[in-house]
Each structure stands twice: as structure tokens, then as C-alpha cells.
Symmetry: C2
Subunit: 447 residues, 2 copies
Amino acid sequence: MDFVVIGGDAAGMSAASRAKRNQPDIRVTVIEKTHDVSFSACGMPYNIADPSRPMEDLVVREADVFRKQGIAVLTGHHATRIDRTAKTVSGRTSEGNPFSVSYDTLLIATGASPIVPDIPGLDAPGVMVLKHLEDGRRIKNYIRDAAVKRAAIIGMGYIAMEMCEALRERDIHVTMIKPGPGLLPWMEPQLSGVIQQELEYYGVALHPGVRILGVSQDEKGLTVHGEGIDIEADMVLLAVGIRPNSGIAVEAGLETGPYLAISTDECLRTSDPRIYAAGDCADAIHAVTGQKVWIPLALRANRAGWAVADNVCGKPVSLPGIVGTAVFRVFGMEVARTGLTAQEAVAAGFHPVSGVIQSRSRAHAHPGASQIRVQMVADQRTGRLLGVQMVGREGVCHRINAVAVALHNRMTVEDFSRTDLAYAPPFGPVWDPLLTAANQLLKKIAR
Amino acid sequence: MDFVVIGGDAAGMSAASRAKRNQPDIRVTVIEKTHDVSFSACGMPYNIADPSRPMEDLVVREADVFRKQGIAVLTGHHATRIDRTAKTVSGRTSEGNPFSVSYDTLLIATGASPIVPDIPGLDAPGVMVLKHLEDGRRIKNYIRDAAVKRAAIIGMGYIAMEMCEALRERDIHVTMIKPGPGLLPWMEPQLSGVIQQELEYYGVALHPGVRILGVSQDEKGLTVHGEGIDIEADMVLLAVGIRPNSGIAVEAGLETGPYLAISTDECLRTSDPRIYAAGDCADAIHAVTGQKVWIPLALRANRAGWAVADNVCGKPVSLPGIVGTAVFRVFGMEVARTGLTAQEAVAAGFHPVSGVIQSRSRAHAHPGASQIRVQMVADQRTGRLLGVQMVGREGVCHRINAVAVALHNRMTVEDFSRTDLAYAPPFGPVWDPLLTAANQLLKKIAR
């Protein structure tokens, strides 16, 4: 059997490698546009922060390792067309030569691409995006070669913030600008305000709510022209979000879901039973709402890749939904969320009630404690826990997992409030901040 | 109504205070043997570590704060007898005067006491236990007044280890000795070995499996006489475990459970419906086994105190079981457990299968990562997750909570392996160590 994979990153390589392990006689071909497979994309900001580390540190496994495993890895091959009748994938190599590969079963794992907004001047050298390892190399080399001292970041999402931290670490002055309102608008201001303070403490200039007119270049460098403000910079990073690389699937007539992500069922099958999709190009079911969502994250990509491999090899696997657990660090702050925000809960047909509490990262009288802020969202009618957002200097990133597991189990806030969570003075108060949030929210639900 | 509470610590004061808030016209009386109420017992080792901090830092609320709330707090009152027919509690004050208090509803929250083994010489000054705030003060004053340079700790449980760290912080040489085998014998040697290395790295001498013959004192100080070894010390700490203070309940004819803890139902009622028990003196249901257990921990004591108050005030509450989540720190290591060990699983009638994995505290190529070791236990027949133990330098203490929530929901390892846990490079690998443990254990379950 010919199992063909388009895209050699997390989902694609997980699937290729596991299929080969599951069933050594299967023929596996991976078609990858770039020359890198299996690298830690999420690690790029931290690598860029350190000029002494080569970008290759982020390569988890070289293409040759997969080739030794018996997988045909075609790097520099850009797939542009799927012929579902002939069951072929065709395209061009980086040298411009046409290629065509036949499949019995196909996995589309084409990932996502940074959104490039429609503003003039983005073709100037020094305007960067960050997605592929090649992008990371380009940014790192440019910082060195152009001796970058000032950077402008368009966007304020989590990649923007991680890059902001990385650039400040290299003593580059950073200005952040975005057209939309506020920092992390999905977050309660009591929580996002803490992050804003942290950014400002580290000397980052923030300009939310500013329409961006264009980027220009002269002998002194780049200028980002916003409405009422010009920002001079040696480098501009575009980080306004990503969108699924689903064009090849759309052209092949496959169904799509939210954000034009490729629509998949619980077995990762697309509307063509011979074709799977996994990773950042595919949608998923949200376990809290039961509705389709597009939340591209690394763990899901890896897990979906494995599940595709198992299904391809006759070990039926269906994945439960995701709950949208995401964490990031920005300077000294940890930020975490899982499940729904109050706004998302309304959109999904719930009747949300929510509350914010402040607690401590260590016990009463334990030295070194810092604040933890928790927002918890529940459904007023059923008492069901719907989501949590959390911000603090320590103990945030792993705490969120307890809520994620609770969401998978459709727990009520009351049941969650009675769980036996850990306590020791260096790690939190007797009542974990999550339990305090639940206890407080219960009072509102009971009304 | 007269609601009387014996014991003014976590469970007792939580109950007293919440009952008064629930129902301001209730008469609440707390009978406390010592002169301290509502202090952070778990914080004592960390306070002892720092000579500049007064022990009073650990008092969460003074007795007078409760008195202002309208609660009669009788400190220095030692309750010695419950008359269930007359519905009175009687005893003697610290001045030796008899007292008697009538109740309509009684809560026994007498806590637990350090076990004092039957070996000669323990009455020497300089032989200490740690339970009440008064014990903490005594130890701290003794270290200062006797200029303690060498300490021997009898016992190697988590209080012993926390005290070991505290004493080393004060540059006191520490020798630990216990009659039983090995360090943390309930733990897989691959995990407990890491803790042993850490203790040895910090210069702690360990002598497990040594029968203790007695303690003697001469002008040079104390000597702990073990079989084949004499340990000289300026101070000896007894930390061989605790047992429930259930004597007053036993004498009143109330039923007892494991370790002679007072037997309670899900509403915290004893075998006398007029009498509740909560905190370290009471038993509980283990949510994994459904069997009675005695696992005295602070969160349960607080939660049970609240539940008693609600039940007393006509708001019926029944608590689900506990899962035995416990964490502690020893020097740079975090140690966590929840649910059952493999041995406990056998005892409870399961057919356990377990595995140990090593993973990392941060992502591939992220600087500063350290090892995390996870042991996961499941039931071979049903695939149900039964427990986890974990050791590492960071990211252990809060991670365990995800497993605790999974245990409350009786998840299988397979379902747990598909939960949407958090990932960002500074906080862990894409596959969280818990998911890797689950993925590996699944292979053993499938056999």
C-alpha cells in the first residue's frame, strides 16, 4: 500500500514514522516543500534569543533518519494538486521539475501560514514572518548582519509576545502595534492588564488599536506607518495570526470547516475516505461545545498524526475533541487558558457566569509568593465548568492541566471544587487557586 | 443551637467559622488544648529554616479574630470526655480547673499526634517532635539557645525530609535514621533513588534499616544508639509518623476505621448522628478503591470542616472520596503522588500494571531542562488509571493535579492519554511527561 503524506512537520512526520513502525511493509512517501522536516517550530523564539545556538538545535530528527527508517522523504517538493480520481499528488520541485506521486491513502498535513495583511511595503527586506525553520534562520541572520537595534512587531498574539521577549533578550528595542483593540482581547482586563504591565516593565512600547497604513524603507531603515504614528525600525516582524494551508484540499473539492480548515471526522478522515488531514491545516471537535473549531497547536498535530497512522494501518482510532489548552510565557509571566472564554461560551449557546479571583503561588507566609489571577467560566444553568484563564509568575502553566482534564470529563464546578489537589507550602495555598476560583464561582452559580 | 468543636486547627476552625457565617444565630464553641488556633502547620519547617522570622508568621488568624466573629474560643482547654447521653464535653483547663460544655451537635477535630516509639531516653531535653506551633517554637528556640550544630532525625517521611532541608539551611549537620527499609519504600527505586542522591548531595547521612536501641545524654550531648551505629547530636527530631487523636472518640464508643481513625460517612458523620469528625482524626473514602482510608492532609481537613458546617446548618453536603494527592519538596527536588502505588493496588483487589518513564521538564533543545521521572499504575483488566508518582526538579508539583482530576473521574489510561494538556517550550515537551507515561503504559496494558 502507498501511504503518501503532504507536509513533513509535526503531524506529517508523526504519521509517516508511526505507520512505518506499525506496518514495516507499507510504502510511505513524504512530500515536503522546504528542506527541513521534524523541527520544533515552537522553539524558534527561544533559539533566536541566543546568538550562540545554531538553528539546527531545533531539528528533532534529520530527513536522513526517516529515510533510514525506510520512508521516502522528498524535500524541496511543493505539492500543488491532488487528483482524487487518478489518486495522485503532483507539483514541482524547488529546481522547477514536475513530479507526480500515486497514493492509496493520502494524508494532508500542510500546516498553516502566517497571515500577510494587505498593506503596502511588506516586500521590503527586513520584513519577516516566523513559521518555517528557514524563517527562523533568516531572522537570526538578519539580526546579526544588519545589526538590528530596533524592531517593530505587527501583532500581539502569543508568537508576537514570545518573539518580543526573544528580541529584548538580544537588547533590541521592541515596539508592538496592532489594528485590533487591546492586548489579548479574549482575556479579562484584570488578567491581560498584568501582561501589559510586564511588557511595559521590560521597555516594550505597545500601540493597540492603530490602523496600519504601510511599511516604507529609506537609507535609515524601515518605517511602519500607523494612523497617527510612525515607528522606525531595523526589522519588522509580521505576527498577526496564521491560517490553514488548505488551498490544495479546497481545489480538490474537499469539505472545509471553520477558518477554511480542512474538515475532518473523529478518525481524521476528510470528506474523501481515502484522504486524511491532520495538524494545523485541519479542524477538530471542541470537547466542551461539540462544535467544529480550528485551534492549531502542536500536541494535537502530533497526536492526530499518530491516529492517522493507526487508522491507515488498520488499528481504528478515533480521537476525542480538544479543549483548546494553550500556555505561553512572556518575560516573567506565565499565561494559560483552556476551554471557553465567556464570549465563546455565549457563542456556543451556553449561559456563562464567570468570576476572577486573586490568589498566591505559595502558602500563607511562605517567602517568594507572587499573585496568581484566575478567571473561571461556567454554565449558569447546569453548573458545568466551561473554561479557565490564568496569569501569574509561577505555577500557572501546569496547573491549567487539571482544568483541561476536568473539561474532558464534563465536570461541574461543584465536582471540580471537591477534587483532591496537591498542597505543600512552596507550591501553593491549602486551597489551590483553582479551587478558590471554583468555590467563589459556585456562589454565583447558586444565585 | 449549640455547635461545639473539639480542636481549633484546620478542620475545627474552618467548621466553626463557616457555621457562624452560614447561620449567625448559632452558638459556636471551640475547645482547644493549646493556646494557638488556625496556624499553618505545614509551614513550620520553612519557618524554622529562617531564624529571622517569628513563628507567629504562621498564625493565619488569632483566636481573638474568631472571638470577634462571635465564636467562643476556649484555648488551654483539654477535652478528655464526651458524654453522649448528657451531650456534654468535659475536661480540664491548662490551670487544672475542670470544665464541661453542652452540645446539640459536636465536631471532633482533634487532629493527629506524632508517634513516639517505645525506646528509652526520649524524655531527654533536645529530643523533639513537630506538630503544634508550640513544638515549632521549642525547636527554633532550642537551635538558638543550644547552638545546635548536629541533628539526628529518626524517620525519613516527608516531614522528616522537610525538616532535614530546614536544618541544613541553618548549616546544621543532619543524620537520618529509621528502622524500616529504604527511603520512601512505597516509591519505585528509580524514583526514590533520585531523592536519595539529592539528600546525599546536600551532605545528609542516611541510615535506613537500622533498629534504634535508645537515646542517651551526657555532657557532650545526645547519642542515638542504633544497632551497629551511634549517632552523636545536639538535637534529635522524632518524625516516624503520626496517628489520629481518636482516644476521646473511642472512649465514647464511636466506631473507628483504619489506623483507629474515627469512622465517618460521606457527610462526615460518625456512628453517632449528633457527632461529626473531620481532619486528621477522621477517616475518608478513597475514590479509587471505594475503601476506607486514613490519609491525613490539610486540604481535606479544611474542606471537611466546611462540609460539617454546611451539614450542621441544614445545607446537606456529602463529600466525594479523596485520591491521596500529596507533594513535598526536598532541597531542589519536587516529589508528588496521587492515587495508588502498585502495592496498594494489589491490596485493593486490582491487577496492577505499571511503568516508569523518564522525560524532560522543558522542550527539546530548550535550555535549563531537567529530568522528570513518572511512574504510572493502571489496572490491567479494565485499563483504568490508578495512580502516579513523580520526581523532578521542576514542573512536578502542579502536574500531579491533572492525574488527581482524572482519578476522580475514573478515567482509563487510554482516555487520559488523549487529554489536551498544555505545551510551550519553557514548560515541557510537546508530549507532556504524563502523556508519555500513559502512552508507554498503554503498550503494557494492551498485551
